[in-house]
Each structure stands twice: as C-alpha cells, then as structure tokens.
Symmetry: C2
C-alpha cells in the first residue's frame, strides 16, 4: 500500500500512499467504516439539496429539492473522514478530543458526524434520528430560520465558525492551553493556509508546554483548490511542503489518495501514530517534570476536492477540481438529466443499507462512535461556558491610590493596575492568561511577571538571565502577531477560561476583523439556548494616539472604537477610565463579566489622578458624571459644559477649565467626565444608554458643550444623534492630524489642547460678549509661546508637562 | 573563516560563519568598508542624541543633547551593513537596486546611508555635507518639525515606512512585478517575521515570473530580539530555520557573526553569490523564454542587536540584547557617567578620520558609493510617481448598457464592467494588474482572464486545462491573503504603476490597518515636495452585506467605510454606484485619479438598471442628485424625500417610492440618490463636500428624509452633522441584524425593506394624518405575507425578486 507519497496530479489519486506503513484494520472494520463514510456523505448531500424524501424512497423530484441550493461540498469528505477515524482512537485510548474545522464552510461534513453520533438529535430533539427528524435536519441547512453553512454557534462541539478563514490553529492552541488532557484535532484548509494569520500560527508550538497544556493535532487538508484557484501548498513539491512544516517545528505524516479501503488503512495507522507520539511526548515531559518542545506530529491529508462526487459531469471535472467547491451540480432544478445524475449519485451511497426503515442509523454503525461526552461533538470544551469557573479576584480597592488630591497627584495608573493583574494571575494559575504582542513591558505591565513569566518553549540563551522573564511555566503569552494573540485568547475563553489582551492602540486595527467575528460569534450564542456564557474578551489598549512623540503619524489611530461601536449593543462595551483608580474599577468589572467584548483605553504614562477609590467606584458605576470639585456652577445652570472622555483628553479639558476659571471667574463652568462610552447613547439603543431626562440633567438643554474626546470626534456625534441640545455639542478629538510632535503640539494640531478648548468656550458663551476679548488674546499668546518653546526644544514647556489643578480642593 | 553556521548564543558571536566561503575583499577595501560602517554608526548615534557639536570636536555636554531622546538603535547596524555591501555590487554589475526596510524603525541606519552617498543633501540642501548640515541632519531626527524614526515618506528612496510591521516582502514583490531589471533588497526583521502578513508573503515567489519581473532579495535579519522578547526565528535550530525557508521556496545563505573584518568578507561573498544566482536564473528564463520558479536566493544575517554598542553598561547587557532596541543609553542627561560612556563610544568610531574639518565625508569613502541614480536612495523607483505613465484607457461609454429603461432593465453591472477592465488590462500589459483573494471569478470579473490570466508559478496539473485560467504571463494576482494582495498592489502603485483590488466586502476588514497605513503614507507624501504623485489605490468591494443568503452573519459587515472615513479628506474617496453605467463611470474616474484611496462598493449580482450612459455620467459628475423620473414633486416642494446610497439600498428605496406613489398618489415624493458619499459632508470638511445651500435645494430644509444606506446608518449621521434639517433625517442601514436570511428577510430585519421604508414615510408625513392608516395596514400585511413566503420556501416571492418600476417613463 504505502508507496512514495507526494504524487502530484489528481489523475494520480487512487491507492493510498502514506508515510507510515501498516494495515491495522480488519476487513469487517473497513466495511463498517466505508458504510459510515457513505452515511456521512449522503447526509451532506441531503443537507445541500433536499427538503423532502430524505431517504430517496421515492424517485427524486423537483418538489423534494430546496428552492435555492446553497452550501459547500468541497471539503466535507476530508473532514468527515478525519473525524470518523479519530472516533476509533477515542474509544481505544479513552481520549478527550475537540474538533476545530478550519474550512468551516465544510460544515455539512462535521454536522453529519454530530448527527450520526446522536448528539445532534439530543441537542435538537426535533431533528431526531428518524425520517421526520432527518427531513428537518436537511431542510434547516442554509435555509431561512435554520443554520448557516459554516460551523456556526448552533453546531454542537464547535468553538470555531470558519466563516472568515485563518484562525483555526490559534483557536485550537487557545483551547489546549491549561487543558492537559485535551487533544484538539484541527482541520487546516489549504486555502486558509495562505492567509497571514494561519501562516504564522504554526509557530504556536513555541508557546506550548507539554506538561500543563494539551496537544493540537493539525490535519492539513490538501484539498487542492479554493473557490476558483489551486492552492499554493498543493502545488509545491512534496519535499518543499515537508520542509516547510518541519521548519515550522512539526513532524508531518502524509496520507494521500482516494481509494477508500486503502485510505482507511493509511489514515488509521497514521492517526494512531500521531496520537501515540503525542502521548509519549506528554508522558516523558510529565514524568520527568521537564518541559521540552518536541517536534509535534501532524498529518497532511491529500484527497480530491469533493471526494466521492462524480469525476466529471458533462465533460467538465467535478471531483478533484474547484467546481466541487460549493453546490456540486447547480442546475438540478432546471436540468432533468442532472437531477438524475444527482439521484444516481446519492443512491450509490446506498442509504437503505445505512438507515433502517424508520430512518435511524443501523446499530452496527452506531457502535463505531464513542458514547456520552467522549463523542467529539459532545465534548463540553465545545461549550466552554459550562466549564467556566469564575475568577478568584482580589479586592481591587486594595490596590487603589490613596489620598488622591484631585488634579494634583501624579502617578502611573497602568503600572499600578499591573499589581492587581499580577495577583489575578497568581490566584488563577490555570484559569487566566495575559496576552500581548511583545508590548507587555512597554505597556508598563511587567509587574505581572512576578506572578507568571512569559511562556517560552524556544531555545534559551545565557543572556536570558539578565531580565529575560522567560519560562516554560509562564502565564504571559507574547508573540509579535496580534492575530495569534487574539486567536489564542479567543480559543482560551471559548473553552471556558479567562484572559486579557494588551496592545498598542494604533495596531489593534490589525485584528479588526477578528474582533468583529468574535462579536458576531458571541452574539449568535445568545440565540442558542444550550450555549453557556463564556468570559468576556477583554482588550486593554494603550500607547495611545496622544503620546506618539517619535513614532509619529503611523502610530496615531484611535479608530478601533468605531469598528467596535458597529457591533451589536448586546455584546460590546467601551471604557475610557480617566485615571488610575477608575482603571482599576473598570478592569475588575470587565474581568467579572461574561459574553462581552470589553475595550478599555488607557494611556500607560504617568498622569494626574483625579478620584480617590470611593469616588472612582461611584463614578464608574454611574458611567459618567459631573465632577463637582472641578466645576463652579454649584446650584445653578452653568454657562458652559466642559466634557471629556479619555485620560489625556480629560487632562487638557481640565486644564482648559482651570484657565477659564482663573481668567474669567464670573463664568460658570460645569465639568463632566465620561468613563462608559455607551452611556452617551439613548437607552433605547444600548443597555448602558441613558434617558434624555438624565442627559439633560448633566449636559443641559441648550448650553454649549465642549466635549474633548480621546478618539475621532465623529463617534460622539453619532452616539449623541438626536440628543436634546445636540446642536450645542462641539466635539474635539483626533482629526488625523499628526507628525513628529510633542504631546502639546499634537493636541494643538487637532484643536484639543487646553488653550484651543478655552478659546472655543469663550467664542461659544454669548453672554461674555466682547468682554472676554482680552482673555482670548492672552490665551492665544500663551498657546503660541508654548508651541514655540516645544518646537525649539523638542519637549513641551514645564508648565504644560507638569500642569496641576490650581484650585484648592473643596 | 567559514565554519558551521548556526551557533546559538550571542556570546558565541565573533568571527564570521557563513554558508559560502571566500574572501573577495582586499585589506584596503576592508579598511574602507570599516570606515564607512563607522561613519554610518556614528551618524546613527548623532541622530539619536545630538542637536549640536556634531563631530564631537568639543567635549560632549548636556547642551549638545536633545531634550528628549527618541529613536531606535537596535537594527541600524545590520541594515547599514547590508546596504553598504550592495553598493559594491551595484558598481560591479551596474545593478538597479531598491531597498525596503522591513524594520523601518531602524531608519537611522538607512538615512545615514542616504546622507553618506550624498543623496540626502541633494534632496534637502539645508542638510548639506558639512558641519552645519550635519547639525541640522542630527537635530531634525525624531524632533518636532523634523522626521520620524521610521523610513517615512521624507526618506529618499523609501516606499515602505515600516511603522506597522509585516508588509516589507509584499511591498517588495509589488515593486518588482513588471520591473525586470530591478532588484529589491529587502531587510526582513525577525520580529516582523512573526506577523501573519509577513509569514505568508514568503510565498510570493509562486507569483513571480523571472522573465517579466525583477527579483526580490530578502535579508532576514536575525537581530535576535524585539522590544522586550527574543524572536522566534532566532530561537529555533539552524536546521529548522533552514528547513522553513527552503519550504517557503527559497535558498537561504547564512552570514553570522560580529567580527567586522570577517563579516565583511562573508557578506561580500554571500551577497555576490545571491546576485549572481539571480542573474543566472533570469538569464536562463529570458534566453530560453521559458519561465520557471527557481529556488530564489536569500540571506539570513545574524548579527547582535545594537551591533557595535558596548556589550554591557553597569553590568547589564546592551549589545546583543533587547535593551539595545531603542535609545541604547537612556539616562545620559541625568547620569554624567553614562554621558561619558556615550562620548567614549561615539569617539571610538573616530569621526575625525571619516569627516574632514568641514564635516564632509572624506573622498576615499565617497568613492565606495555608486553615483547618480545608481545610488540606492536615488533610485527613481523609490519615488514611483516620477515613473508613472498614465493608463491607456478605452472610452468607458462604449461599454455602457444602451437603451436603459429606468427601473425596468435588469442586467449584471459588475460582469459588464469586467469587459471594460478586460480592455484596460489588454491596453496596459506592463502597467496595470488586477489583484484579489481568489474571488475574481466569484465576483463576476472573469472576463478579464481573456486579456490576462491568473499568474501562477506553482506546479501545473492536467486539470488546469479545464478552465484553470492560469499562466506564468498572467495579469491577475490571486492568493487567499488579502494582506498579500494589498501589499503587492501598494508596492506596484508606489513604484509607479496602476492596479485594482477586488474583494468580498465582509473580509476587507482584514486589511483595515494596511489601508490606514497607506492612507497615512500618501497623505504625508503631499507634504514632501519632491514626491511625485502615484496612482490611486483602488478597492472594489463586492459580495456585499445584503446578499449573504447562506454565508450568513459572518459575511455581513459593511463597516470598512467607517474606517476609511476616519482618514484624511485629502486622501479618501468612497463611491456607491447604484447601477451598471454609474459603476463604469466611477471606475473610469478612479483609474485616472492620483494619490487617493478610492473605495467602490457595488454588488455583483444582476440588478435593475436606472441610468443610461449620459445620465450616469451626469449623475456621477454631480455625485448625487434628484431622480426626476422617480419623483412626482416636479415644480413643488415634496412632502417627503426618499434618498438612497448603494445599489441594493437604492432598489428597495425605489420600490418603497413606487408603493407610496401607487397607494398614496397625492403624496409628493422626491427621490434622491447619492453616488459620491463625501458629497454629504460640508464643503468645509472635505473637497467633495457641498454647501448648505446646495444641500437645502436637494434635501429641503424641513421635510422628512428617509435615507436608505448601504452600510451602518450612523455613518450618514456623522457625515450630515449640523446639516439644515438634520433632525428630519431618518437613516436606515445595516444594524448588525442578520442570519441565514433571504435578501428580503435580511432587509426586513434591518428595516430597510420597501415596506418598512414606505410605512416609515407614512408615519413621518404629518399632513397625511390618519387618512393613510389603511394604506399603512395594507403595507404591513403585504410585508408579512412576503416574509412568510420567503420563510416557507427559502426564497423570496417572485414579486420581490423581480420587482420593476411600475410607472411609465416620462
């Protein structure tokens, strides 16, 4: 059987070729496996085509077909084939296995497995194991009110939809970290393999500890084609592909062919070889208590795209070509000959031999599957919320800055919060990880290394002793790939644990699409009754737009908030704590929450502190509020409202308020700060939104509001659409103006500096008339002088850098 | 010299180890090269630290230092070293070389080269080759009003900033496509190598034709460390790394060490080996006219991070560790001992031997560099706008649909536009390429294959004859990586050519950050006088949110427009042509434009056509306008304005208008369509914006406006902020509600279907009072019936699917 693997053309498919030799299966087992495979393929076609006559007991007619034919056939066979072979080993070795379907649009393949092993009918009793159930099972697929054509949240055992490609391996690794007994069998599409995120995620083995973590067993499916193109990895030499995978740190085993009997033998012996090696590596590391990085086994499975379809239809290739990608024969509704081809094809799977007269899978096939939670699609890891243990969180108040003088105390809120995170790590050693793309220390979070270092399974050098903070047993995950960090975190959360991603603000856009997809996943989970809620995805964004003195324009983009704000209000939360104690309060809140994407924006530098812990908790609980100590409108209507959201923005808005109060003491200024961005929306549109009544009590009905915002100003306009007095709202924020600027210069370019804000206030308060013209001029001159000094010295003037609130506390 | 490469620890640096043996340099050359290297390193430190006393003729004092020390040192040496060695070969073989700096934050390294070869002073005469010029040259770096610490647009010869990491190789490949005589020497950072986009871009060789295209010569710089972590590729075995690069299709040569004399020999012999191989492969392919994919040569350069810095400062590692990443000694302003260390270090480069008493590089060193345009930083490809030839574009009017019956004719506008694109390809064979992630055929653009097939340098199979459309000489670039497609296109454009990316709407978010960075690049180019304008980056988005019947929720995200709208008005343009002729007009306009990012959103399915070619051109020229044929308010103020933007949205808004006109003939309805999204903004904020006067003439002052928008509705609110009658504007759009829905169901979920729009109109026109209650109920019942039918059949009712405008043309 086993000849040299690596033959090229589809026409050379046939007898199996594989790296490992052996024929572990007896004829009877092969007969049953063939039957199971036929059952699976039959179900796949049923899902794609049928709404009635599920077992084809009557001749196939138009009325049995769905009106619109939608779905993917191309990768179904390879995925089914892989899944069913794992079943044999689950039973033999009592394995715990999760299946991640990289090419998620091969959902029929895996949904058919779930149905065959009985899980689907247990989860959805109306899709029972009988003719009626099968009819509903077929009809619901890619049908209104039904399920999608990917491994959507409705799919039992799925934590990975595969709608957007590229994240299968990083999700899989996330699922096995701190899950030492789990093997995540991961089908990697050869199309998906061309994406950047997938291409780098093969390196995840450098961050996997064989003692504490489980194993990922990738099956790279050389299906050969994408939608309309060959795949790169299927069109390079066998040696080149081997070399690539070895270079990535894996030990690839090849299984190639299309002849079923020999393919069963090849897959059985190869998969068992891989499982055995995994167990050996784990045993060695665990018994010797010496973590190491083995060359983990993996499989390259080369089968024809659309395997088991007709090779040709009307002289054009189907099996083994890209035409098999979606609906394999598209015109069955209008072409009677093709309807006949479909019927003949489906009948060739011999459904009458596989399902009894009630439409129930026959007993001898049922016995091929494991039972209970050992069934892949019943693995509770696939519904990770079930396994979720709440974090053991220390009292964040204990970490707060004491004796805050509002506007005077200068401290580093991020570095301080790191002490809290350190203890969260320490108290949840197998249940929480911190993720980040090589920025954790730069982001002032290095205190966490005291509880858990950076996981590193690459080589160690002498130099690492000089502050390397590397360890195989670390709790911090750092690779310079936002995609991989995010994917790991998603996998870790979806399998029932907790985590936090920290990242530079400008480059969080790298994972816009991943966060979008995660939002969509957890929103849909809300509609799936049996899905238990998972921990929130927490994203801490720092190194923000306002402090990019030398990195300049490329590092200035606070627009991730706009992307997040487009997602469902059920799912997204955005916080911009103005100082250290509010940051602690927000972080505690986010770590306790479930099923959200929480975005926290906070600068990492030292800043003026505003609120003591009690005030911080009260402020965060309200989400926004008037800062009385900074306002002088007590008991009256103000002349103007100065509002802010974001730490640097708050600092400048407060400095502007001080200038106004000093130079124009008769002016009544109210100062408002917003922590929870979605408080600004109407309560009709977001659970955190507030009523117009509350809005008026804070922002007034008609007084000018100058709102200094951290991000692009238009987001505030959008959130406050139709608010009372909306026309009095003047938002300042980042307007895409920047270069190599000092913080003050950058603020000035965007009209967010204290002088610009104060001058704008003077222009807007009509009651001041011309009386304030002199003050305005004074402000203008001070602004120019400050700019000039910054420009000459390359650093902001002392009175700008170390500005403090000039008024005594009440 | 050449011992086994692959030694691990920094402490094992020293004598060079390399794959190729040989000592091509004589002692005199080595002496000069060492001097050049010292000059380069001296200039780097000068940029990081000094604002005065550039040649250290006086003892170094605090007042000579910049007030804030910013910039990167870590990768400067390796980049300088590589650049200078290429100079030798440029002179020897008369090469044309472009340098792409992956780790762009090593800008001092390459800026120093540009200064040493005289280009910098030619481009910026105030930074002349003398003491005064050097002083300014130092001070401007990372200084307000100066230049950034990456290879920003101000950098002569740069087309790649390297602010956001990951795109060096794809940019480099873009630059050499159709540039047969160019070698793009590409420094790939080992940190950057961990990003997804970089990890997959190594595969670009499968799309490079050695006859028509030039060559990319990557130098993977194993610098060893990122900001605070080791790099993955520097911590795997030599064999594994070799295997990885061979697997990617390359032939890696190693050069490793820190001893300068032997490193010069090793780099000289290795680089020459690579250049020779490149030329041999090209010669073979060109002489035989047989394109093939050689294993292209590349270099792995392992040198210590911060090479030539002190190994230790105060007992902590500097050279060869991550502490050398940014400013190598940070506290020189406050620690006199460290100031002395810096001075000693700088003086060890012996500036007095390198620059004469005027501060000019001595003649014998000047002679090491090539001259004129052969100097890397003077290569005109680095200022690609200079080389740009306008496209030869056929008259798009010739491709238009003739005899359009507004609202009746049904055609496929995308497939039709493909005929225009086909001829653009045909008439610009070396000057235009079409890019896309395996979706060109799915997007109905396959007509272009008649002019140029898909470039494919992977293996060919028999099957490809059955409609594979692959060719080494293709003009269409398809890999399943939006990152790589975008990177190639950016490189192609920035080096002076033209192109178009086509992509599914939902997954265009994958490249949010890349498009952001490109916007920032071209905006900054506007401020750099010597930069000639380049072709616009054209992005055609299709497979849009409203037609995702089976892909469902994951494929519904029109929010890319929000990301783009945050960028500078000088740079971004967004078009949503409502039909086929407007699509042609918009495409023609975009292909002719320069220095923009043009985003075009259009569905790929067949749709009702609205405008004949003259009307389409007029409509696109105005950017928005009233469609008189659909309105019945001629000569009067309307009761309501129905507005739309986007093809599907226009279709439903028009159907709603028809329902209103049929059921409530007394109602005066005005129909407005928007093609050019930025027409909605005030002229103050965007060059395409319009005045309030014009706004009023179209949208009225106070009449209700129902605006049916393609994307998230909030974008319209943001764009129309403070418009007259803003409170009368009711925007409908995608509200993140979707599943496996028919188009009608999906529209209903988001209140954008014809019935919802018509009912909203009735609710808003107060003059109707209760008289329209019956009509409203009728609409509601028709809506329910349509939904019910769609739900039962899995397909929308015939009268919804094939709806046509019921009124005769004027």
């Amino acid at each position: 059987m086993a000849s040299k693997a690596g033959q090229k053309s589809i026409s050379a498919y046939g007898e199996a070729r594989s790296t490992v030799e052996g024929k572990p299966l007896d004829a009877e087992t092969i007969r049953k496996m063939n039957a199971w495979f036929r059952a699976s393929m039959y179900l796949c076609l049923g899902m794609l085509y049928l709404r009635d006559n599920p077992l084809l007991k009557e001749p196939l007619k138009l009325e049995h077909l769905k009106a619109r034919l939608l779905g993917h056939w191309g990768s179904d066979a390879g995925q089914s084939f892989t899944w069913m072979h794992m079943n044999r080993l689950i039973k033999k070795y009592d394995l715990k296995v999760l299946f991640v379907s990289g090419p998620g649009h091969g959902a029929p393949g895996i949904i058919s497995q779930s149905y065959l092993e009985g899980v689907y009918s247990e989860v959805y009793p109306d899709k029972g194991e009988d003719t009626e159930g099968m009819t509903k099972f077929f009809k619901q697929f890619s049908f209104p009110g039904g399920i999608g054509s990917h491994a959507t949240p409705e799919t039992p055992g799925s934590i990975h939809e595969g709608g957007e490609l590229g994240y299968s391996l990083s999700h899989a690794f996330g699922s096995v970290f701190d899950n030492p007994n789990l093997i995540t069998l991961t089908m990697v599409g050869d199309g998906e393999s061309e994406t950047g995120p997938l291409a780098t995620s093969w390196h995840s083995t450098k961050f996997l500890n064989p003692i504490n973590d489980g194993a990922v067993l990738p099956v790279l499916h050389l299906n050969g084609y994408k939608i309309n193109n060959p795949t790169v990895l299927a069109r390079i030499s066998h040696d080149e592909l081997t070399s690539l995978l070895v270079g990535y740190g894996w030990k690839p085993y090849f299984v190639e062919g299309s002849d079923l009997d020999s393919m069963h033998q090849a897959m059985a012996v190869t998969l068992e070889q891989c499982v055995t090696e995994i167990k050996e590596h784990q045993k060695k590391a665990r018994e010797t208590k010496t973590p190491f990085r083995p060359r983990w086994p993996m499989i390259v499975l080369r089968t024809p795209k659309g395997w088991s379809a007709p090779r040709e239809v009307d002289g054009h290739l189907l099996e083994g070509f890209w035409r098999a990608h979606q609906i394999p024969i598209t015109d069955v509704r209008t072409n009677p000959a093709h309807l006949k081809v479909l019927e003949t094809w489906m009948k060739a799977y011999k459904p009458e031999e596989l399902f009894d007269k009630n439409g129930t899978l026959i007993q001898e096939l049922k016995e091929l599957a494991p039972t209970g939670k050992s069934r892949i699609s019943a693995n509770p890891v696939g519904n990770g919320g079930l396994l979720r243990r709440p974090l053991d969180i220390p009292d964040f108040r204990e970490y707060g800055f004491k004796d805050i003088d509002p506007g005077l105390t200068i401290k580093g809120g991020m570095a301080n919060m790191a002490r809290f995170l350190r203890d969260v790590v320490a108290q949840n050693m197998n249940n929480f990880r911190l993720f980040g793309p090589d920025e954790t220390e730069s982001n002032k979070l290095s205190e966490v290394y005291k509880a858990g270092k950076k996981v590193w399974m690459g080589d160690y050098f002498e130099e690492d002793k000089d502050g390397g903070n590397l360890s195989p047993d670390g709790r911090v995950m750092e690779i310079l790939s936002e995609h991989t960090c995010e994917g790991w975190l998603e996998g870790y959360i979806l399998s029932g644990r907790h985590g936090l991603l920290n990242s530079y603000e400008p480059f969080i856009h790298v994972i816009d699409s991943m966060v979008n997809q995660h939002c969509k996943w957890i929103e849909k989970c809300l509609e799936v009754e049996w899905r238990a809620r998972v921990s929130s995805l927490n994203i801490l964004i720092t190194a923000t737009v306002w402090r990019q003195d030398h990195n300049g324009f490329t590092h200035q983009d606070p627009g991730f908030l706009d992307v997040v704000a487009n997602k469902s209000p059920e799912v997204v939360r955005i916080y911009l704590p103005p100082d250290g104690n509010t940051l602690l309060s927000v972080m505690d809140h986010c770590l306790r929450s479930v099923n959200y994407v929480n975005v926290i924006v906070a600068d990492k530098q030292e800043h003026i502190q505003f609120l003591d812990m009690d005030a911080a908790v009260a402020h965060c609980t309200k989400g926004l509020g008037i800062w009385d100590w900074a306002s002088n409108d007590q008991g009256t209507e103000p002349d103007i409202v100065m509002a802010s959201c974001g730490d640097v923005s708050t600092h400048e808005a407060l400095a502007a308020t001080a200038l106004l109060r000093e130079y124009l003491p008769q002016l009544k200024v109210r100062f408002v700060n917003v922590v929870d961005l979605f408080r600004l929306i109407s309560a009709i549109h977001h659970p955190h939104g507030m009523s117009d009544k509350r809005w008026k009590s804070i922002f007034t009905i008609d007084k000018p509001i100058i709102f200094n915002f951290h991000s692009y100003p238009w987001l505030i306009h959008r959130l406050t659409y139709k608010r009372p007095g909306q026309h009095s709202l003047h938002v300042r924020g980042y307007k895409e103006k920047g270069n190599i600027d000092t913080p003050f210069e950058l603020a000035m370019r965007n009209d967010t500096d204290r002088y610009s804000l104060a001058m704008a206030a003077i222009d807007l308060v009509q009651s001041l008339g011309n009386s304030a013209a002199g003050v305005r001029e004074k402000l203008y001159n001070e602004q120019l002088a400050a700019k000039s000094e910054a420009f000459d010295n390359g650093v902001d003037p002392e009175h700008i850098r170390n500005w403090k609130w000039p008024f005594p506390k009440e």
